[in-house]
């Protein structure tokens, strides 16, 4: 078992190195890709600076806290996009053309191969940019170091990534039946928009149940909320446990769903 895990990590390392050398063959393109991400972060910062010029807090989040949240979301999203997004997006094409056959024939776990074949290095700097934003926010806030918070932050970040990945895999898996799931990128964008804001904005008659639904039933809201809260706001052990449990359950569920879907895969011969 342990040897197996080691083998998969080694494989991931090789894949990462291979995709990096591919990426660096087109350095100009790589640089432009990174600058798009910088631009996007700039737009988000401009947006929230504009907002915070008119108010001192949003839903109880002060400006530094909110920017920590933005950085956290940006880093987490960057991680998900680097590792899984391109792969999931390509899955559609694999199903449509029948090229998925080649992946299924390999003596490697098919979910691993489908989800991690290509590392998209273009979005990897997002993790650093998000981290930089988080550090700046912490300095502005005058945050005091707390080992427990930092450790829990990293654990919940990992869980958040796992949850986001599971949802993405489930969305991707629908491709097997729909064949053309061309708006997956769009769908992911829309779905993940739920994780983009603090949970506290879900207040009011109809919004509160909605917020609870996306926290406890379809826990997409915990993805960036819990790590950010753990670090700069209330440390709620219940939410931390919930996030860990959600990550485990969703990983298992999405894997089952993926394997179930593969049984309906009918290839496509020319």
């Amino acid at each position: 078992m342990l040897a197996n895990v080691g083998r998969y990590f080694r494989l991931l390392g090789h894949l990462a190195r291979y995709t990096l050398s591919r990426e660096l063959a087109f350095r100009g393109n790589f640089l432009v890709k990174v600058s798009v991400e910088v631009l996007w972060l700039g737009i988000m910062i401009a947006f929230y600076r504009t907002v915070f010029a008119r108010t001192s807090n949003v839903a109880g989040w002060s400006e530094p806290d909110y920017f920590f949240f933005v950085g956290c979301y940006f880093a987490l999203n960057g991680l998900v996009e680097t590792l899984f997004f391109e792969n999931c997006n390509e899955f559609t094409e694999l199903v449509r053309t029948g090229d998925l056959d080649f992946l299924l024939l390999r003596p490697i776990d098919e979910q691993f191969l489908v989800s991690l074949r290509r590392i998209d290095w273009g979005t990897a700097p997002n993790v650093l940019m998000g981290a930089a934003l988080m550090v700046i926010a912490l300095v502005q806030k005058g945050w005091e170091f707390d080992l427990l918070r930092v450790a829990t932050f990293f654990v919940t970040m990992a869980c958040g990534t796992a949850i986001a990945y599971s949802f993405m895999l489930i969305l991707t898996t629908f491709t097997v039946w729909m064949v053309r799931n061309q708006s997956l990128m769009e769908m992911w964008w829309m779905f993940s928009s739920l994780a983009r804001y603090p949970k506290e904005i879900f207040s009011g008659r109809w919004a509160e149940p909605l917020g609870n639904f996306f926290t406890y039933i379809v826990p997409i809201l915990v993805v960036s909320n819990v790590p950010a809260n753990v670090m700069v706001r209330v440390f709620d052990p219940f939410m931390v446990v919930l996030t860990i449990v959600a990550a485990v359950v969703l990983l298992w569920l999405s894997r089952r769903f993926f394997q179930y879907a593969l049984r309906s895969y009918r290839s496509a011969s020319s």
């Binding site: 432009v32 798009v36 401009a46 949003v58 799931n181 061309q182 904005i201 207040s203």
Partner: protein, 305 residues
Amino acid sequence: MTPPDGLAAPSAPAPSSAATLAVEPLPRHAPPRGPIATLKKHTKILRVSLSERMTYRSDFLLGTILRFLPLVTTILLWKSIYESSGASELAGFRYREMIAYLLLTHISRMFSSMPGLAAGIARDIREGTLKRYLIQPVDMIAYLLTYRVAHKLAYITMSIIPYVALFVVCRGYFDGIPDALTLAAYALSLVLSFLVGFYFEASVGMVGFWFLEVTSLLYIVMTLNFFISGHMLPLDLLPSPWSTILKALPFQYMAYFPAVVFLRKITGWNLVLHLLLELTWAVVFMVLSRGLYRLGLKRYSAYGG
């Protein structure tokens, strides 16, 4: 991370028009000329493109349902912003107007966004498939325009039910339906925003004649456009030099302008002036795209088999 419009472009390039164009039976001898023949030709392009768009309905439906999630979060975010700030008005927008504005920019974008247009043109140039426009009696820009009209017609008809439902649910954010004159101006501003969007993207796509790889440039343009067109927030909210600068640029016509027309924030001669300006920008981009196309063809070397 990139906004949806920007992302949609390279992943879903305008469904290749090669197939649809090939369906046209071409007469063996000289094709009929004249305005009626042209109109007939373009009606056919419209019909074929329409049925192509309707093929994958389940994909489309799921997309439409999910499309409303960001709307919900946007409304909630602005609600919190207004509640936290304690102000009843931000940059001249009351809370209800702000939500109405953000809903209306979706309608603007529905007309002005052109996913895959520029990427499709650049691909045609790069792969040499552009030559099908050169050897067939159809003008590329006119063909793409008709194709896009069909695309938009299909899209708008299929989105009408969810959008009507949305506006009925959100009717509380609006101060009733504006008068007929405002509605007419609004409709005109939307049609013009379609033209501005189309010719702007077409011009960007033509850059492909000079640079082989423009997808990344497109990403930058689309990302920037998302913000400076006023899709994320009314341009008035930005600090002083920026709001003036952005309101002088053509991008505002792709989201901001139609929305404020509907909200009656621009009225009277100012409205007429801006509609004329919008028309001017459409013409400018039309001339630009045609000019770049003509210049580009001189460089074009038809790669590919």
